[in-house]
């Protein structure tokens, strides 16, 4: 533990009984891949929508030997990422990093790093709406029954309506997946570009929704399929441009407006991936 570790709070902010409750929920979530386990979400010192679910999971698993990376939309240096990283540096005394391969725990908002994850790493997703069926069925008791009965027809109808209206499945983020051929799961608002990375990943994937009080998980080496149709197979985004900074053609690109006369550029959303490519070229 470092000298800067904050005094006056329990280690990693949460009290031990809360951690034990969350730990039990995580273990059951791992045992039932894709199933949403309710938990007693606590009030955290940041607003809902800023990652209270992810933070509670990270606080419950993290220890002094961990190295923590936090990203927001792929970037290590946005407000959300910086403040969560410093929160754990101060309350848990952990080492932090921006390098994907150095991290033992990665908390993420809306991206999966471009660098492949490895065995032993844990990635913690911040989830706003954990229920993939929510916009089709507002009742919690109904969606719970639908999951119990494996009644997912409505989801395919929704995707089909997209095709009827737009000629393709229009959903480009939080694209629903089927986990180990059983539960339909919301992957959190990651771009569908990242969906294939969830399949057969060697890392453990944990999902926390603070406001909605749900935890779910995908163990390593688990089958994760994006829902689609035979004649409209799942596809990820593609760009005609390369990253303006590192030249990458295989990473997820953000469009940045540079002036008010139509000037724009495309750059990697994963800032660590981009910086590494620039370093290695030099």
């Amino acid at each position: 533990m470092t000298a800067e570790t904050m005094q006056g709070y329990n280690y990693a902010y949460l009290d031990e009984q809360t951690k034990a409750m969350i730990r039990r929920a995580i273990l059951k979530a791992v045992a039932i891949p894709g199933h949403q386990v309710p938990f007693g979400s606590r009030e955290m010192p940041l607003p809902y929508g800023w990652g209270t679910g992810g933070i509670q999971i990270t606080a419950s698993i993290i220890g002094p030997l961990d190295v923590l990376k936090v990203i927001d939309q792929g970037s290590d240096d946005t407000t959300n990422a910086v403040s969560i990283r410093s929160f754990f540096a101060r309350t848990a005394g952990v080492k932090t990093t921006t390098a994907t391969e150095e991290a033992t725990v990665i908390q993420t908002r809306h991206r999966i790093p471009e660098a492949p994850l490895t065995d032993g790493q844990i990635i913690v997703y911040q989830v706003p709406i954990p229920e993939p069926l929510r916009f089709m069925e507002p009742s919690e008791s109904e969606t719970r029954t639908m999951h119990a009965l494996e009644e997912y027809g409505v989801m395919h109808v929704k995707l089909y309506e997209d095709i009827a209206e737009h000629g393709r499945i229009a959903k480009s983020y939080d694209y629903p997946v089927r986990v180990q051929s059983r539960y339909v799961m919301a992957p959190s608002p990651i771009p569908k570009f990242d969906n294939p990375k969830m399949h057969d990943s060697p890392a453990l994937q944990l999902f926390g929704a603070g406001r909605e009080k749900r935890i779910y998980a995908i163990p390593p080496h688990t089958r994760v399929e994006s829902l689609d149709f035979e004649d409209h197979p799942f596809e990820i985004q593609k760009w005609d441009e390369a990253c303006a900074i590192c030249g990458a053609r295989d990473s997820f690109l953000d469009e940045i407006l540079t002036d008010d006369r139509g000037g724009r550029m495309f750059v990697c959303s994963d800032s660590d991936h981009c910086a590494r490519r620039v370093r290695e070229d030099c």
Binding site: A20, I32, L65
Partner: protein
């Protein structure tokens, strides 16, 4: 008269954290032998690993069932004092069960598998396995498959109680319901979540 109570963890916050991470790795990678980082001071007859797991996972929200060989007066005091867990009067009421005598273990179906809507409300068994971690020669291995296992894994048959594999097939057939098992050796754990299938 006051009776002594075993001390449990010496650094509860950090030792329960590292114990949890070992269990999490074990459950996320079924069949993998994960070393236990801590031995807690527990009641007579309990390994340090078993005591550490109970201290980490159990509290007043988790009814605990102790098999007759685990349920000494000292162990009951230990669980009451450190965890505050209610005693489950029967296996099917247990959130956690400590089984120290595997050969007399109740049938897996005696524990609760949860419901279709709430499959997480199922028992987790902490099942003592004295041989866990020992290779032994000419040992029969079960093939195991499922989420968390890269391709297929192997599990030595002599780590399990007799007749366990047959019972497990029925348990795995209940998915998404079913009980989860943590095999607890003297110095390591192996996770068997309900998703594991066993062959051979």
């Amino acid at each position: 008269m006051l009776q002594p109570i075993p001390a449990g963890f010496s650094r509860p916050v950090f030792e329960s954290q590292s114990t949890f991470r070992a269990v999490l790795q074990a459950m996320a990678n079924p069949g993998r032998t994960v070393p236990m980082p801590v031995a807690a001071q527990g009641p007579q007859g309990w390994s340090g690993s078993m005591a550490a797991l109970v201290l980490t996972l159990c509290d007043m929200d988790t009814p605990i069932w102790l098999d007759p060989s685990a349920a000494s007066p000292e162990a009951l005091r230990f669980v009451r004092f450190h965890c505050g867990s209610p005693q489950a009067s029967a296996p099917h009421e247990a959130a956690f069960a400590v089984v120290l005598e595997p050969k007399d273990m109740p049938a897996l179906r005696a524990f609760t598998p949860g419901t279709a809507e709430f499959p997480e409300r199922s028992s987790t068994l902490l099942l003592w396995s004295a041989n866990l971690g020992q290779a032994g020669s000419g040992v029969r291995e079960l093939n195991i498959k499922g989420p968390g296992i890269d391709g297929r894994g192997e599990l030595p048959l002599h780590w399990l109680p007799e007749g366990f594999a047959e019972q497990w097939r029925a348990n795995a057939g209940l998915f998404p319901c079913g009980v989860d098992v943590i095999l607890v050796g003297p110095e390591a754990v192996v996770g068997l979540p309900r998703t594991v299938t066993m062959e051979g």
